[in-house]
């Protein structure tokens, strides 16, 4: 699957299928601080992203950065 992230912009390839919670864990991203989007839709924790899927992982923390 193709994963897009912003600030800074980057693209990551991961093997699927994988549920959202496992993708966040694999990338060491906090589920409190990130949401997963496919197209215009929000994906819940247990949604499974197929191997040929494309998603965006969006950070939700505002007011600062590392």
């Amino acid at each position: 699957m193709l994963i897009k992230m912003y600030n800074p912009s980057k693209e990551i390839e991961l093997k699927g299928p994988k549920p959202v919670f496992a993708i966040l864990a694999k990338l060491d991203l906090s589920r409190e601080a990130h949401l997963v989007i496919s197209g215009d839709e929000l994906l819940p924790d247990d949604a499974v992203v197929p191997d040929d899927g494309e998603i965006e992982i969006r950070s939700v923390i505002s007011g600062g950065r590392r």
Binding site: E32, D40, G63
Partner: protein, 302 residues
């Protein structure tokens, strides 16, 4: 995962409530949290016009969207801080949002007003950018509200903003800041516009989810001057605690609000004087904003 209320597929899980919601039930839940905040803190009445301070970010645009949807009379206020493409993009997002919903927006541009952006203003006044920015924003929120006849200014501060601020103030034992921290700030006997934070019960994960579900096109970039901000570190720490113990952030902040009256029983009037320059309430003879602007003028002219 199913919605707890209507049993259709859920779009979001909320561990802090041990539940999950579909799109409609999540929106209903979130609106109720905002109404609860407004009512519990007597923030404003249904017939009161509200000036909503908007930055182009998810929280302030979502707040404006929510208040409008709940039937409140609102006007947006956007301050263009003059931080290059970041300010241009955030203004564009805010204007597009307002235009698409037929909402009135007031824009104040620092470069047009002062001939300088906030970064240069901070540099010339020898203040850290975030500190100068806060002083300037407070002044303009109040000045514009009072000039345009608004008794209340609403900002998009969410639970993470408030809990991390509390965390930082406790770590540094900032008693004066702890005394002041509240979802509703006094109108100083009618001299200020009342400042309110209707999103204080909602974490930013839920606010971002709301913005995405409502197709709110907000700016994803962070202020370039916020790199390395302590608040970010505090938010990360609180998120770790939240995952280990869901609901911890809200309990931390609500617990503080509950104990505050006993912790600080003899609170003195915040701003007993009136600034001799601009007429706004202040601690001394001249307010922080007028001192800052005077320092900048002296430096620029010398």
């Amino acid at each position: 995962m199913k919605c707890r209320r209507c049993q259709i597929p859920a779009v979001i899980k909320l561990p802090r409530h041990n539940t999950a919601f579909c799109r409609d039930c999540f929106e209903d839940y979130l609106h109720n949290q905002v109404l609860k905040a407004i009512s519990a803190n007597k923030m404003f009445k249904k017939d009161e016009a509200i000036l909503v301070a908007v930055s182009g970010g998810k929280d302030s645009l979502a707040l404006w969207h929510i208040l409008n949807k709940l039937g409140y009379q609102t006007v947006g206020l956007y301050l263009n801080l003059g931080i290059g493409s970041y300010s241009e993009l955030s203004q564009e997002r805010t204007e597009t949002f307002a235009k698409g919903r037929g909402l009135e927006l007031i824009v104040q541009n620092y470069r047009k007003t002062y001939g300088l952006g906030i970064v240069e203003i901070a540099k010339e006044s020898a203040r850290p950018p975030c500190s100068a920015c806060g002083t300037m924003k407070r002044h303009h929120f109040n000045r514009i509200a009072m000039e345009k006849g608004f008794s209340v200014v609403a900002t998009g501060h969410n639970l993470d903003d408030e809990a991390s601020r509390l965390f930082g103030n406790l770590l540094n034992w900032q008693r004066p800041y702890l005394e002041k921290q509240s979802p509703t700030l006094s109108d100083n006997g009618g001299k200020w516009a009342r400042k309110v934070k209707p999103l204080y019960r909602l974490p930013e994960r839920e606010m971002a989810a709301y913005a995405i579900l409502n197709r709110i096109d907000y700016i994803l970039e962070e202020c370039p001057k916020s790199k390395g901000a302590k608040m970010f570190v505090y938010k990360e720490a609180l998120n770790k605690l939240e995952i280990a113990s869901p609901g911890r952030k809200l309990a931390f902040y609500l617990g503080f609000l509950k104990e505050k009256a006993q912790l600080f029983p003899s609170r003195i009037e915040e701003n007993p004087n009136t600034c001799g320059e601009c007429g706004q309430p202040c601690q001394d003879e001249t307010c922080g904003y007028c001192r800052l602007v005077a320092r900048v003028k002296t430096k620029v002219m010398s």
